[in-house]
Symmetry: none
Subunit: 196 residues, 4 copies
DNA sequence: AATGAATGAGATTTCATTCAT
DNA sequence: AATGAATGAAATCTCATTCAT
């Protein structure tokens, strides 16, 4: 029943947008009475929260696979792979993601998928520890904080916005480059030369 | 009167969020009748649009000054300066910016201040032409597109989100680095080495 | 519930006129919430339409009986009977009829009860075919068109307006005469004499 | 100024209908302030009343000429002439007349132009006295009352409604016939034969 | 006299939420 | 557990009318 209601919520969101999302409409779409909806969800907000949490979990699931794959790859390739999977996942949840970003009263900017960001940050910490072990921990955190924002925002842009004249692949490439550059102070030992 | 109404709109937005923004509430806050509000604004949307336009213009004004200053500076310093000013400006318009980003049905994801992004992109094009003249135009556009998203999103994060344990300055530094790295393929002639 | 709302609508119409007919007032009069009103009627217009349709159907029902009776009577008696019943029916629906005629934005002048007029016209066509078979069809239509206006208007006047010093019966008599005269070119073979 | 306001009222009525008639709109159309409008008219109702009175007077003026002409004509021709002029006059005031009939809260059914009806009745009394001198006075009044309704309603129909497949002239002819028949019990001495 | 900005009651309509069945 | 009719606060917007200038 909960699943049916959440599925209906997602569909209404896709078809009518956040402004057109009413509890009655959701119940009707779900083939359920409003009363039942309120048996399983305290209020409209909880309904939305739950849907977001589930979408987040979905994305997270796909992401976890990608992260597992990524550890076996060269750094930049791994990052790229993760980003590509994230973009795909967001596209698959396009409707809900879009509706939420545009309109839902989230109260956190860009943190549409906080769990995703957290998980990504977790793995990124390991990545940084491996590829830039000498980096000061506080400095590393700062870079990760920033990089997460950049990565999520970039992926959302790539996934949801029509890029004029630029292929999605190229954008993912660039983002991957950017992340590696941003996270690892000197990915190719340039700093040695640079420091001289 | 228009100013009073817009000021009231901003305040209601701060106190109640976008969802709590009603024309009656705005009128009351402004100490004005609803009728008057509708004398000056055709409808609720126009009211919001006007507020956004004004905020946008304000930010844009401050940004323009920063961009003018920046041309006389070394590349990275110029970029940093612009970002710092942008962060400050967004902080000063925190309330409206935040409300609009989170909740206003803008239809452009993260692109809350389209004018700002456009203006920034314009100048960035020149920056790229100067500092990476050999870059393929399409490639340059892709990088700028991405960089604008990154820059705005990063500035918004810095301006609006409590950064745990990291100074704002450090984040701006990192963002500046990132932008330079992202926009100019090989700021230090690294690619020569890279190619071998 | 629908009935209660419609009854309330009729009552408000009687007491306050069309201009004083508000959905809130109707709901209050019906002892029902506005929300309920809107559960059963899509909008104010539908409410009014439904009331008109029902009144129309009521009048039509009574009219149909009268028309059935009338066929078995001599022409003038039949006409008179129909008119008398129509007057009575309109009087019984006085409030709604009056409000609608005077004020509802119908777009058809005097044609308040289009169904009634149509039904009446239908039977009148047969009447004419029987009593004035030699009449040119176009001419017959013209006469019927006119007669319907006359009949309805006359009945409305009789039903709704205080006739000073004239009995209702006498007015109905006169109207019946008029209709017979108007519909049948020469009810008593006068034209033969006339032609000489 | 009064004239300007009334002219503006008429124009707004034509362009926007009764529902679109607002005092502010009228004032604007007249190039006058609302305040001024309220200096000359106690309220909106008075404005409308005055406009109706003036339209009525206009129609009345044209009618008076026709009535003067009519006295010199044979009965039926005179009646026909008056009706034709009335139809023309109503057509010339079509917009206002139509708006008023359909929507204005008149409170009197069909009595849109009470002065016109009264004047017409006055002359008709003379007509009846001349052409049916033996008619009982009460009976005469009844016939006149009815005939006025018929005449005005018929003229309004002819003037304002698209008659499908029937010429306006023919309808006026029929109406004239009807009125003569209705007013004079036996215009051609038929009753003598009838009475036997 | 004239202006027109300001008023505010009131109209239509929506929708989250409740509760008797 | 489930239903869904009923609720009513609240939102947007209009417009007749007033009154300080």
């Amino acid at each position: 029943m909960i699943d049916r209601i959440l599925a209906a919520t997602a569909q209404v969101l896709e078809e009518r947008g956040y402004a057109g999302l009413s509890t009655n409409r959701v119940a009707e779409q779900a083939g359920v009475s409003v009363g039942s909806l309120y048996r399983y969800f305290a209020d409209k907000n909880e309904l939305i929260e739950e849907l977001r949490a589930r979408s987040s979990a979905d994305v997270l699931g796909e992401l976890t696979g990608a992260l597992t794959d990524a550890v076996a790859m060269p750094a930049r390739d791994g990052v790229r792979h993760v980003l590509a999977v994230l973009v795909g996942s967001l596209q698959r949840h396009r409707a809900i993601t879009a509706a939420m970003i545009d309109e839902a009263p989230l109260g956190a900017h860009g943190n549409i998928l906080p769990e995703v960001e957290r998980q990504l940050a977790q793995v990124t910490r390991i990545f940084v520890a491996v590829h830039a072990p000498s980096l000061d921990p506080a400095e590393a955190e700062a870079r990760i904080h920033l990089a997460m924002g950049v990565a999520l925002n970039a992926c959302l842009r790539i996934a949801l916005q029509p890029a004029p004249g630029i292929t999605e692949d190229r954008l993912i490439d660039l983002t991957a480059d950017l992340m590696v550059l941003g996270l690892v102070p000197d990915p190719l030992g340039r700093s040695a030369t640079h420091a001289e």
